[in-house]
């Protein structure tokens, strides 16, 4: 596959915007349409676009770590968010604990959980599509 110059130029510009948009959609998920799943999928689309334009090796370098590492950290965040209530808040596992942080407002364990979902979906999309791209290239 020989990606066109237009695609390359556009991707250089679009890729960071897509990632920022995905983070924005993740962050607003709790009060407005959005959330971890959608954010992760959009970021995955961004990485796939990058892989199409510049090749899988470049895209993997952009990701810094392996897709499966994203998935691992996603699971850690998601399951770890449950322990806050259990150990610190003296309530059940996975009960929501909320607190006020200056500048950001209210933040709590469901946000950490959603972050875990985001990372996991992103990792999965990257993993699946990078593997398939490498398969079809060889």
């Amino acid at each position: 596959m020989n990606p066109s110059l237009i695609l390359k130029a556009a991707t250089k510009f679009l890729f960071p915007i897509i990632i920022i948009v995905s983070l924005f959609i993740f962050w607003r998920g709790h009060n407005l349409p959005g959330g971890g799943f959608i954010g992760g999928l959009i970021a995955g689309c961004g990485f796939v676009l990058y892989a199409l334009a510049f090749g899988v090796t470049e895209a993997r370098k952009r990701a810094y770590v392996q897709p499966t590492t994203y998935m691992g950290w996603g699971l850690v965040c998601a399951v770890g968010s449950g322990f806050f209530g259990w150990f610190l808040g003296q309530t059940d596992f996975m009960a929501g604990i909320w607190g006020e942080v200056p500048l950001i407002g209210k933040i709590g364990t469901p946000v950490l959980f959603d972050l875990g979902v985001y990372l996991l979906v992103l990792g999965f999309a990257m993993h699946l599509l990078f593997s398939l791209l490498e398969e079809s290239a060889s």
């Binding site: 709790h30 469901p110 999965f124």
Partner: protein
């Protein structure tokens, strides 16, 4: 609610001391044994996690937490045994250990749930106080058997013993911790802890005594004929576990005291012996007695370490093992036969220990030269020797050592003597030993193979590999179920809701129909895939129009990624080569239309019948106030039904592993 409350008594604290103390010494030993930094990086975190979960097993009060810690020890031991994943023997050993102890863990979960059903509580402390209620219940025997199986698998009682010798493929630090001092003792811990529950259930005591004694005698005799140093120690460990189970099964006060003493003594000397075997392996690069010999010339200090460990291992006064053996013999001195069996077992175990400690240094034809081991690696076994020697005096039990010349002392001395005799005439004795080559692992392995063959043939029968056939089965089954439960009265009526104009809806529907026709008609796969994507986008627009923005966004993103996926898979296919025959095509059309209409009708009916749903009001009221979120869909996903989401993302993780596996198989096939 699952709580992490701890239940500590003297029995737990003994284990805590062993886990932490011996853990420290094993850590020091591992520093000397593992030189490679990558090996250390792999070993220590897993090792510490294992120690933590073992602590959890002995201290948790909530039975479910105990079960979780129990399973964690099995999982972590799997990783530790398969430390070198390239070695097929290590993988096999780890798999056997994981399967056997995992099956036992399931039995334990079953028993815990039954117990909770009777007493209403998961707390160990409370259950121990409700003994009468438990023993009166008809389930008491089943619970006893299940707990017995859990402990027997973990503590390698007959017939579950074979995984322990198989686990000797683990590096020695692992063996000296898991398979001598901690993990295998978890079963003994369980037996002791639960004995008060089953005082009136004779089956419990009988199982423990029967299997324990059998394991003890058989493994002790078996250990003597082994060739591998660690194999000998593995079998003597199995024998010791059998002995402790037997003692707990007698349910006598004196036996329980003896168990505690032997637990400590055995942990100390067995850990030291394993480390000793590891040092020999490390220096001479072999563990087989048939290849070792004549080491005394080149490694005199190691020779003395061996003699020291043999001294405390065989239980010669004043070592702690001697105290333990005295207590054991005194607790069963009413029964003649038990004394004889214990005598036989002790003799063989002592002889096996002598073989491990002295045989590599004896005169033989092999001329081996080894380097004297370093300080760090020998520090830990020497410390264990010193502790074994001095513990009696330090713990204030000096007067327990000497009870005068009684039967127990004579038996003890005799068994040492017989052990020495067996050692000196080792080869002659081994020839007369039956079942010296029996390996349970081979039977288990062939059983597994048979099981896999059967499941493979079943899979071939049910899974044809044709996607079309799978879909036909799914659609027909779903349609049949829906028709079977079709409601009696007519609940469908036409009711238009929504603020969007009818024209827009009709236009979008027309686009969708066009895309469907294009997809079926086109010759090129890429065009089909793109029209499939177009259908998906139209569905997403419908979602957005009818007030489901989250769903719409997800649909857009998923559709995009799916189109990418399909394109990569199909891009090397230029044209569709085989199209379905007219008969197949007609059948597919009829079935698809029928299933689609049915699905539509069912969804329509579901929307029409409002039902008594309090959920909508509940979510509307609590979402902002209690869950701090205005977007109810997202709040349900991450907060109200967070556990479901956690399960789903775990499934994604497992699917990713599946993808890796499938692609690796593909690469293998291509080569």
């Amino acid at each position: 609610m699952i709580s992490y409350k701890l239940f500590l008594d003297q029995w737990s604290m003994t284990f805590v001391a062993l886990i932490l103390g011996i853990g420290l010494l094993v850590g020091i030993f591992a520093l000397g044994y593992l030189h490679d930094n990558s090996a250390r990086k792999k070993f220590f975190p897993t090792f510490i996690l294992f120690a933590l979960s073992m602590l959890g097993v002995v201290t948790f009060d909530h039975l479910i937490m105990l079960f979780i810690a129990w399973e964690l020890t099995s999982i972590l031991s799997f990783f530790l045994i398969s430390f070198d994943p390239e070695d097929p023997k290590a993988r096999r050993g780890a798999l056997h250990a994981a399967l056997i102890t995992g099956a036992g863990g399931l039995c334990m979960l079953f028993a815990i749930l039954l117990l909770q059903n009777i007493t209403g509580t998961f707390s160990l402390q409370e259950n121990l106080q409700l003994v009468d209620k438990i023993q009166a219940h008809p389930w008491a025997q089943l619970i006893a058997v299940m707990f017995f199986i859990a402990g027997a698998t973990k503590s390698a009682l007959f017939p579950f013993s074979f995984w322990l010798p198989g686990a000797m493929t683990a590096p020695t630090p692992v063996s000296s911790y898991l398979h001598s001092a901690t993990m295998v003792k978890a079963g003994i811990f369980l037996f002791y802890r639960l004995s008060p529950l089953f005082l009136a259930v004779p089956l419990w005591g009988n199982l423990l005594v029967g299997f324990g004694l059998l394991t003890f005698v058989w493994a002790a005799i078996r250990s003597f004929s082994e060739d591998d140093l660690k194999g000998i120690l593995a079998y003597t460990t199995v024998a010791s576990l059998g002995l402790m189970s037997f003692l707990i099964g007698t349910q006598k006060e004196s036996a329980m005291v003896a168990v505690v003493a032997f637990l400590i003594a055995h942990a100390l000397y067995k850990c030291g012996l394993f480390q000793f075997a590891g040092i020999i392996d490390h220096q001479a690069h072999t563990r087989k007695l048939s290849e070792l010999g004549n080491l005394s010339a080149s490694a005199p200090k190691l020779k003395w370490l061996g003699r020291a460990l043999a001294f405390v291992g065989m239980g010669i006064i004043p070592s702690y093992a001697f105290l333990a053996k005295e207590k054991i013999l005194m607790s069963v001195d009413q029964s003649f036969w038990m004394l004889i069996l214990l005598f036989v077992g002790f003799s063989f175990m002592g002889a096996a220990i002598l073989r491990v400690c002295l045989a590599p240094f004896a005169q033989s034809q092999k001329a081996m030269k080894v380097e004297e081991p370093g300080f760090l690696i020998t520090l830990s076994p020497w410390i264990l020797f010193v502790i074994s020697l001095l513990l009696v005096f330090v713990s204030g039990k000096t007067k327990d050592l000497w009870h005068g010349i009684n039967l127990e002392l004579i038996l003890s001395l005799l068994s040492v003597g017989v052990a020495v005799l067996f050692y000196l005439f080792a080869q002659k004795v081994i020839r007369y030993l039956p079942f010296s080559r029996l390996e349970g692992a081979r039977y288990f392995e062939s059983g597994l193979k048979w099981h896999f063959q059967k499941t493979l043939s079943l899979t071939r029968l049910l899974q044809s590999g044709s996607l079309r056939q799978y879909l036909i089965v799914i659609f027909v089954a779903a349609a049949a179920l829906m028709l079977w439960h079709w409601p009696q009265q007519n609940v469908m009526h036409w009711h238009w809701k929504g603020a969007t104009s009818q024209g827009l809806i009709v236009a979008l529907a027309a686009v969708k129909l066009f895309a469907m026709w294009w997809m079926i008609k086109s010759e090129s796969p890429i065009t089909s895939v793109i029209s499939l994507g177009l259908i998906g986008y139209v569905v997403a627009i419908f979602f957005a129009l009818f007030g489901a923005p989250d769903l719409a966004m997800t649909q857009f993103a998923v559709e995009t990624l799916s189109v990418f996926l399909f394109v990569f898979v199909l891009k090397d296919v230029s044209r569709f080569k085989e199209r379905s025959s007219p008969a197949h095509f007609a059948f597919d059309v009829v079935l698809s239309v029928f299933a689609g209409v049915l699905m539509f009708a069912v969804t329509w009916m579901a929307i029409q019948t409002q039902g008594e749903s309090r959920l909508r009001d509940f979510f509307a009221q609590t979402s902002l106030l209690e869950a701090n979120g205005r977007n109810v869909v997202n709040v349900i996903l991450v907060d109200y039904r967070g556990f479901d989401t956690m399960g789903e993302i775990s499934v994604l993780g497992i699917a990713a592993i599946g993808v890796i596996a499938l692609l690796k198989i593909q690469k293998g096939v291509k080569k």
